[in-house]
Each structure stands twice: as C-alpha cells, then as structure tokens.
C-alpha cells in the first residue's frame, strides 16, 4: 500500500499531464502539501480522517458550504483566500460526485475562515 501511496504522489506532482495551467499545478501542489497527509492523495481518508468524497453531502446546503471552510484544517491552512478558494473548488470537483455546485470565491472564504469552528465534530451538519 505504501508503494502505491508514494507512486500516486509522484504522479500527482511529477507528471504534468492533465494540468491545464500554472494555477492548476499550484492547486494540486497545495493539495499535496496541505491535505494529502491526513486525507491521503486519493482522498480516501482513514479510520480517523474522513474521505473527501463526503463533501458531496455538504456542498449542497448553505450550512454545509460554511462548514467546509470553517473546519479548522481548512480555515487555518497557510494559504491566501484566493488559493484556498481554488483548492476547495478542486477538492469538491476532483473527489466529489456533485454534478454542479457554486464555486467558492475568495471573498466567501475570507468571511468564513475568520470564524473557525471550535468543535467541528459536533458542528457538522
């Protein structure tokens, strides 16, 4: 399993195929550096960390959208509002199955990350 994990990360970063712009490459890099350590590169999660496919259920409601940005791992990520908005849109598109969603904007991210959740497990919609 660990070999598969490493190869997946290498493909993620080392292979430029499928990366359509410099922004996309930066967003994928941001995912590897800030998300993949806990959620894993295939976003499958583990016994203690949720899979990122679960964003489907959250992105469909206002409370769920707010939760996705206010959860501490997202709100406190060392990224600008613009990069964080692009990263979250990438996560929802890449790993979720929601057919359509309204993309996060930097303004929305800035407003929501200013009030991070203190107890994300109990606050989950």
């Amino acid at each position: 399993m660990r070999r598969v994990f490493v190869v997946a990360v290498l493909l993620f970063i080392g292979d430029g195929a499928g990366v359509s712009s410099a922004d996309d490459a930066v967003t994928r890099f941001d995912f590897v550096l800030n998300c993949s350590g806990c959620h894993r590169t295939d976003a499958s999660g583990s016994a203690t960390v949720p899979a990122l496919g679960e964003t489907d259920a959250l992105i469909a409601t206002r409370e769920g959208r707010d939760y996705l940005i206010r959860v501490p791992g997202v709100a406190q990520a060392p990224l600008s509002d613009e990069r964080l908005a692009r990263l979250m849109n990438f996560v929802v598109r890449e790993f979720g199955r929601a057919p359509e969603f309204e993309p996060f904007t930097a303004v929305e991210v800035s407003r929501l990350r200013a009030v991070p959740l203190r107890s994300p497990l109990s606050a989950r919609p």
Binding site: V9, F12, I13, G14, F29, R40, S46, V49
Partner: protein, 184 residues
C-alpha cells in the same frame, strides 16, 4: 570494370583532389559527433523524453552527513522528529519488519543541497512495535504548534494505523515542490 565502379573511382579521385585528408577527417568527425548528439531512432528519442519526465528525482550523491540516510543531517530529514527507520532495521523509505506504515503522514518540503531545489517530503511513521530507541533526531524545520495539527510533528502520526504504538519514521520523496512550504 563496371560503369558503377568507374563512377565511384572518379568521384573518389575528384574528392581527393578537392579535400585534404585532414579536412576529410574533420568533416567525418563532425558528422559522427553530430549523430551522437541528435539521436534519430524513435526508441532513442522516447528514452530521452523519459529522462525529462524523471527530472523530478533529486541528486542523492551528496558527500557527508547530508547524504547519509542514517544521520539526522540527511537532507530529507529537515523536519524529522523521531527515530530513523534507517537505524532500526528499515530504511528511509521502508518500515522495519514487524511494523506497519501509517496511512497518514506529516508532509513538508526540504531543500536538496546539491541542486538547491525544494522537494516534497512525506514522513510516514512505522507503527506496531515499541520505540526503536536508535538515531533519535529532532530537527523540526517547518514544524508548527499542535493547534495546527496538519503541520505539527508532535502528534502521534500512528493515529491512522491499526496500532498507535510508534516505532520509527521514514522520509519518502514525493516529487519536486513548486515552492518551499510557507512555514519556512
């Protein structure tokens, strides 16, 4: 003598009259060197493209401790906090026998001293046996306080494994970083 033979003989003599032997040798030498520099076979071209794709591999032929995976100073160990699996029966990329690699990991970047580039390094802990006790390192570059759990190496990264007993740490390479991690 056939017509072809006479044509070849005439051409050769004409060439010999126009060119000195040194000049001929020089031109032949340039042609040979040029052929070596520009591979024409498709297999050779494909191999060259493969080399480019593998360009993310950093140089590992580093003299001194920065090139030794069993030392804290090893370049991939810039954020290490724990026992080196290289000293515990494993390696910088593999867990010792009888342990399990945790599926979750601390991810950061380290700068390779030879090429000066930053690379993504994934620290996966090996779990399932008690403390290794050998080669303890605590460099912590880019480490954050525990209230930033995704970038704190003080929590038990065996949390995602079937057992939470920590044994040692690996340092896996995950490719070229587009920039150094922001905490540095």
């Amino acid at each position: 003598m056939s017509g072809f033979d006479r044509w070849v003989e005439g051409s050769t003599r004409a060439l010999a009259r126009r060119l000195s032997r040194r000049s001929l040798l020089r031109r032949v030498g340039v042609a040979l060197a040029g052929a070596a520099a520009f591979p024409v076979l498709p297999v050779a071209r494909a191999a060259g493209e493969g080399d480019a794709a593998r360009a993310a591999a950093p140089p590992e032929t580093i003299d001194g401790p920065a090139g030794d995976p069993s030392r804290c100073e090893y370049w991939r160990h810039c954020a290490i906090d724990g026992f080196l699996c290289s000293c515990c029966g494993g390696s910088q990329t593999a867990c010792p026998p009888g342990t399990e690699m945790s599926p979750i990991s601390w991810v950061g970047t380290c700068r390779n001293p030879l090429d000066g580039k930053d690379y993504v390094i994934v620290y996966n802990d090996c779990c399932g046996r008690g403390f290794c006790g050998r080669c303890f390192c605590n460099r912590n570059e880019g480490d954050r306080p525990i209230y930033h759990p995704y970038r704190s190496n003080d929590i038990n990264w065996c949390g995602g494994a079937s057992t939470q007993v920590y044994h040692c740490s690996t340092a896996l390479l995950a490719g070229l970083a587009l920039e150094a991690q922001p905490e540095k």
